[in-house]
Symmetry: C2
């Protein structure tokens, strides 16, 4: 067998393993160093009480004849699709338009099977790596990059996407922390409606939005005929290890021929996926009941307070910061340094691990992403180290 | 956006929903009918004690600061990769060659990203639908069908696959129940070695093999340089709802260029997947410890006894039966009837749901698959109805 030529189109190494490698080498040199990780965006707070209880209850049930459940519908059990529709979308959809997944990244991958190899995709640069890698690896589709930087307030020039079939957007953005305003999102939806594009809208961080900004693209009238929305329990409720997400494909979203995409997505999901774990689905339900919502609101508050403290601290240390208000991420612009140079410097001087911006695309070069997913203790330590600079460390 | 032309290459409807539809219509006509489902191959016995306990323990741990775990490695935690290697493969591999998944079907799908659109795949006919649908839907790859029927003892004519790059095989087979002998598997491996093909070997039902037959392709010398093996906890330990599987990609398996496939598979897994649920991984570990193995052996014995009873019963009722010895499935050859005609007749006359063989490929037309995944009570009722025929029903 010959190697699939698509592998040559992506960088050989996903950049998170490179971070782990550099961390390992550093610890070999300084085994006594107390590293603080503000790198990979991984939740650190334990699951809430209501969610933990739901997991234990559904675990116990699977060990009983009455409670045992095997295969569920590939697109998720009715109970969780109903609840997502009711709580997240105020009942705007039917459960048949909501597909439960094992996480947003996995559905971004499966979407490539829906789009096919002739599809032209426009993505934000920087963006979550799966948005670029999955079309390139699946069939080498044409991808257009839409630069997002402080100069354009992280709002892409939509004209660059005029030849694309699909427009992938993420708000609040990973990695920049930018959240679209109503006005911005209206422009995007109008553009897609007018030029008949499909929008793939990633709202994995929607729970972090503060105040009067849209949390879903469907808050914009007309969006339900152009947009597919991808949501996740990972950062909303600490499910990074539990695994649960969803994708909304409204019946009104159509191909040029006028036929709906939804049945084709159902075919993809039932062929390439066999359903999220029944345990994760029960845990997701618990996160969406009233008590669960109250609990996870506190958790999100915790991470947002972390990022507020870090934003202040990095600014005091002289960094130009973006994001960190409607998202658990800070986006630091560097002076005269590449992302990896600054990564290494923070690692060496203050023993803080960050995420090099260049891992999110060429527009990310010269930036660092800082995550608020940490314990408060670690955040305080990090701010202290930043205040004292190199002296306090070694 | 135009519809992806690959959708035209597969049948519009996956056939399991069609079974559910016919069942629903039947129940509308006869709401009092007590149906017995021997259709979809879905486990029915509750999770064993050791597995249930592991699930409850890891659920509780996620609710504590010390026990909380977020993202794990996409390819699975070291503890479960180690244990699969140790228990299933007697330590023949390194953990880096074992990739933990959320189930075999999902990895069959992701394998299409590895192979790419220029790959020519040969599959058994009949076969598990994902083997045909995933290459067609992913990029319309060329697929060659290898007929397996009573005339060739369900052993494919390998010459038909001489132009293929990849040879997909499943043993014990779903749906036919055929398990390859050592001699047959040696012929397959020799063929692949000689003609430089990659074998994808599905052992989802390996735990059902009785006596001296291979449970893994790696029992054949040399197979570790040509074969990728896909395993699953679904039918081995009742994980159809829990979701856990694995894929072995030995470092020795190479492209024509001499380069290993393993790093590319690692790239696919880390891009298109975000790890199996941590809960499922702990449950899988419990299934592999000694006590867990003893428990699941009893469960497998239960399903095998079911299929033995059903095999006798269908034979007494005049059916020509295959399989049902090393697999939880019977494969019934029909006289003068199509699969759906026989499906409808069994539904109407004895209120038993089976699986039409034509759903597994054109060679499956004229056959029915009967599953042993049922309670013993239902199996006894089914045998009774088959003995008494139509009269006992209505």
């Amino acid at each position: 067998m010959k190697r699939n030529p698509n592998f040559a189109k992506v960088s050989g190494r996903y950049f998170f393993p490179e971070i782990i490698e550099r961390k390992k080498k550093f610890l070999e040199r300084y085994p006594e160093a107390k590293l603080i990780s503000l790198g990979i965006g991984d939740t650190t707070e334990p699951l809430t009480f209501v969610i933990t209880e739901a997991l234990m209850r559904s675990s116990a049930a699977l060990g009983t004849r009455q409670g045992y459940v095997g295969y569920g519908p590939e697109e998720g059990h009715e109970f969780i699709r109903q609840k997502i529709n009711e709580v997240i979308y105020k009942g705007a959809f039917s459960p048949a338009e909501i597909f439960v997944s094992d996480g947003a990244a996995c559905d971004i991958g499966r979407l490539q099977f829906l789009f096919g190899q002739n599809c032209h995709i426009a993505i934000q640069d920087p963006s979550y790596p799966a948005f670029l890698d999955t079309p390139l690896l699946s069939s080498g589709q044409k991808v257009t990059l839409l630069p997002c930087n402080p100069e354009n307030d992280f709002f892409p020039d939509l004209n660059l996407a005029r030849d694309a079939d699909v427009l992938c957007l993420c708000s609040p953005n990973n990695p920049t922390g930018k959240a679209f305003t109503f006005e911005e999102l209206e422009r995007i939806v109008a553009f897609a409606l007018q030029s008949k594009k499909i929008i793939v809208y990633d709202v994995a961080y929607a729970a972090y939005v503060q105040g009067k900004l849209p949390r879903s693209i469907y808050e914009i009238p007309g969006a339900d005929s152009v947009a597919i929305e991808i949501g996740s329990f990972s950062k909303m409720a600490g499910f990074t290890g539990v695994r649960l997400g969803w994708t909304v494909v409204p019946e009104k979203v159509r191909y040029e021929s006028g036929e709906p995409l939804r049945p084709d997505w159902a075919r993809i999901v039932s062929t390439f996926f066999n359903g999220a774990s029944i345990l994760s689905q029960h845990a997701g339900l618990a996160a969406l009941v009233e008590e669960g919502q109250q609990e996870i609101a506190l958790q999100i508050r915790h991470y947002l307070d972390n990022i507020t403290l870090l934003k202040q601290s990095f600014e005091d240390a002289g960094f130009e910061t973006y994001g960190g208000i409607h998202a658990p991420y800070l986006w630091l612009r560097l002076e005269d340094k590449t992302s990896w140079e600054a990564f290494d410097e923070l690692l060496e001087k203050v023993h803080i691990i960050t995420c090099p911006g260049c891992g999110f695309g060429q527009e990310g070069e010269g930036f660092l992403r800082v995550s608020g997913f940490a314990s408060r203790e670690d955040v305080h330590k990090a701010t202290e180290r930043l205040r004292n600079g190199v002296l306090a460390i070694r």
